[in-house]
Symmetry: C2
DNA sequence: CGCTTATATAAGCGTTGACTTTTATAAGCG
DNA sequence: CGCTTATAAAAGTCAACGCTTATATAAGCG
């Protein structure tokens, strides 16, 4: 299964968001997801399996707990695929947050290229936590 | 429909790859995709509709032709989502190719980042082919 | 050991998605 | 105008997906 396929599901994206902060037990993930999406434990277990099988997450047993972690390789591939589109926004100033995430802000003060509006940045900085607002029926 | 959902399909990803080199008519896209995936014209038309409706592509009529183009906004969102995982590989050496793909070499030579960065397009034109190797049954 | 906790698998079901073939729209052109 | 080209929409089919309930495995603990 291609990584993009696995990433199509909001539950799985959310799981990865949670894992981006570090290893989590299946149980911890399950309680958050259950609360947020209202689905059952087996449903989440199945999503975890998809993440495992698509290489996006790895598991480590510790007693009866399963510790999940992000496995970056497929995400790096997604990132690489996306690279060909960066030209579409990268020299525009409203991509400032992306730039910041990459730590290249030094350029803001050197002689700059584009024109105006830099106000987008603060705007995006605020949106922490979940990026997806969609919900399941 | 979330961008990630639309990107889950290899045909749609391939269409976007083709569009990353510039505007294309529905017909041009159709012949390439038909050759590569062996699916019908209506099937491709439906994929184009999904791309339109998910905001990933825009259309412009010119006579009886429809000119499609990449619409970067949702891809930028995907990029932003992905940002939180970059730390997983960005300082590791085995991410070298990704770094290169992002054109980080500008930093190695003097920081010439000024004007209209047009080399993105030509560069990508070189490695034309498909990135996805998967196929439909 | 038997009970509970943590997690996965199995089986079944409704919905969605990606096709197909067929048909519509609409511009170009003789 | 009628015919052809370019593209989309409609309707139907089949497989895949995401969910559920029920059940299995296996470690911890009294």
């Amino acid at each position: 299964m291609h990584a993009f396929d696995a990433l199509g599901d909001p539950v799985r994206r959310r799981i990865l968001e949670l894992l981006s902060q570090g290893e989590q037990t299946s149980g911890a993930l399950t309680s958050v997801i259950r609360a947020e999406f209202g689905i059952s434990q087996p449903a989440i277990s199945q999503h975890l399996r998809v993440l495992r099988e698509s290489g996006l997450a790895s598991v480590r047993a510790e007693g009866t707990r399963r510790l999940y972690a992000v496995e970056p390789a497929p995400l790096r591939e997604v990132d690489a695929w996306l690279a060909r589109f960066r030209g579409f926004w990268e020299q525009r100033l409203d991509a400032l947050d992306t730039e910041l995430a990459r730590g290249r802000r030094e350029r803001r003060h050197g002689r700059r290229h584009g024109g105006g509006d830099a106000h987008h940045a603060a705007h995006h900085a605020a949106h922490d936590g979940r990026t997806d607002e969609e919900e399941r029926p």
